[in-house]
């Protein structure tokens, strides 16, 4: 692996990291609008508001960067970076095409990916604690509670796939993937995706943000670019979650003509899942804090354990 190769791979990851979240964001604008009988942005960029997020970015960049008086300055300023960068790191380990179509193949890929994704949540916790604002603190605490509850079923569901494949490496999992894993790991897929949604604090699990009750949770005191970074982190999180779900449960680049078009299959599956994220947001109301906890402990954890048992049984029988 020479320097040029590394540079190209890093650049590709960076471009994907900067482009895909914007694409998801624009899709959300449009899909959400049409699901509500509206048309969404129509003017920015001229054609159906394609440049709306660019305009938003310009607007955010122009705004004053404010740090509240009582805030823990360094922590407050560092939080958006900590929320965003982990998703960039995760993208490095996600395989997009067969035969080395991954920026960096890691032997313990699942561990790396899930651990780093968990770090991203720390950004919200830091912001919530350092803002010196009661709404931020409430949001931060809710984030913490949600992280505690949903990290477990997410890990269990991922562990089920690792058991089935007999490897922790993401390219390795895709290497042994078969189509009948779809029904076999279906329960795990649902658990993983749902728990991922909750970790991203996406509706209907957006109680930590809940603008109608606690302003904007941990992000209440943020303005300008730092606020934009938090938003970007949310959409980068959608991309990463969708890509991970596609790799672990939907077979990633597997599909007809996978040798040439593997990356397209991967993108397609990721895109469909991202659409699902948006769809769920539009369709369901926000869960209450106690409902969120109940769903995690009484539904998702038992389901994940059931999936692991099922995986184990099938593995032993075969």
């Amino acid at each position: 692996m020479d320097a040029l190769d590394v540079t190209v791979r890093i650049l590709a990851v960076l471009v994907a990291f900067l482009l895909l979240p914007l694409l998801v964001g624009q899709t959300e604008h449009k899909v959400m609008a049409h699901m509500q009988g509206r048309v969404g942005p129509m003017y920015a960029g001229g054609f159906h508001g394609w440049a709306q997020l660019v305009a938003d970015g310009v607007k955010f960049a122009q705004k004053e960067d404010i740090v509240p008086d009582g805030a823990d300055r360094r922590v407050f300023q560092l939080a958006p970076a900590l929320a965003l960068i982990p998703y960039l790191l995760v993208l490095v380990a996600i395989p997009v095409a067969p035969g080395g179509g991954v920026a960096q193949a890691l032997d313990a890929g699942i561990f790396f990916v899930l651990a780093v994704m968990g770090v991203g949540i720390l950004g919200s916790l830091m912001g919530g604690w350092a803002s010196a604002n009661k709404f931020s603190l409430l949001g931060g605490l809710r984030t913490a509670a949600q992280l505690m509850a949903y990290e477990l079923p997410m890990l269990l569901a991922a562990a089920s796939v690792a058991m089935a494949a007999g490897t922790l490496s993401l390219p390795g999992i895709l290497g042994v993937w078969e189509w009948w894993w779809l029904p076999w790991q279906l329960v795990g897929a649902v658990v993983f995706f749902t728990a991922g949604l909750a970790e991203l604090q996406r509706p209907p699990f957006d109680a930590p943000i809940a603008d109608s009750e606690i302003i904007f949770g941990a992000y209440t005191e943020y303005t300008g670019l730092r606020f934009a970074l938090f938003l970007l982190a949310e959409y980068a999180g959608i991309v990463v979650l969708s890509a991970l779900t596609a790799v672990l449960f939907l077979g990633g680049w597997h599909g007809p003509a996978a040798d040439g078009l593997g990356w397209l299959w991967m993108l397609l599956k990721t895109g469909l899942l991202a659409f699902g994220v948006i769809w769920l947001r539009v369709s369901y109301p926000r869960l209450r804090e106690d409902q969120i906890q109940r769903l995690a402990w009484t539904a998702l954890v038992p389901l994940a354990l059931f999936q692991i048992a099922l995986t184990g049984v099938v593995k032993v029988v075969m």
Binding site: V31, A33, H34, M35, Q36, G37, R38, V39, M42, H48, W279, L280, V282, S283, Y284, D290
Partner: protein, 258 residues
Amino acid sequence: MSHAHPGRSEGAHFAGAPAERPGSKRGVFGSGLAKGLAVTLRTMTRRSVTEHYPDVQPELPPRSRGVIGLFEENCTVCMLCARECPDWCIYIDSHKETVPPAAPGGRERSRNVLDRFAIDFALCMYCGICIEVCPFDALFWSPEFEYAETDIRELTHERDKLREWMWTVPEPAPLDEAAEEAKELAAARKAADKAAQAAGTDMLAAHREQPAQETAEAPGTTERNGTTEPSETTRRNEATEPKPKRRPGQDAQGGGTE
């Protein structure tokens, strides 16, 4: 769930209620969730209901209360509108003129001449009482609504502007086939017949003297009837004033939508 918190029985009951519902009444578990997804997906495939207003003119119903137009040829300065207006937003100035006798030996007549007719649309509450109360059909609703100003004082619109809005007043809905002839048409025909009977060489001059209310016509009806037209309306048709730029509802279709 509800048994776990005997102390907060009411709240706990509330929290426990939704969990029991799906199995007992609403059929299969999760069917409500699926229905929710179906609704949003179906809405997405349908056409959006958004009005693309600045790009596409809205299709307004013909009786829209957009602005009040003044057909000043019909106004006799009777002041009824100004007096009935609940918030006194109509300003009328006039003076009296003496008209020479129509026939030699007759006596002079006096009539009111309108000097100023203005409506302050910052005060107007669009109740339409002035239009209802006008006995001479001089005031009309127009669906035109794009007359916002940057200064509230500029919302007092004078007679020329009000007269211009008359061109945007839509044609009244056609009468039923079997309906009686409209009163305005009957009056106009009667006047025309009378004039024809007189058959005097000075017919036109005689007409000019007739009070406006006899020949009053709702705008737009003149094109449809073939009777001899009273001078008032003839003047109106030949007027060089600009045609209405746009009639709401005509060009409000297609384009710009998704």
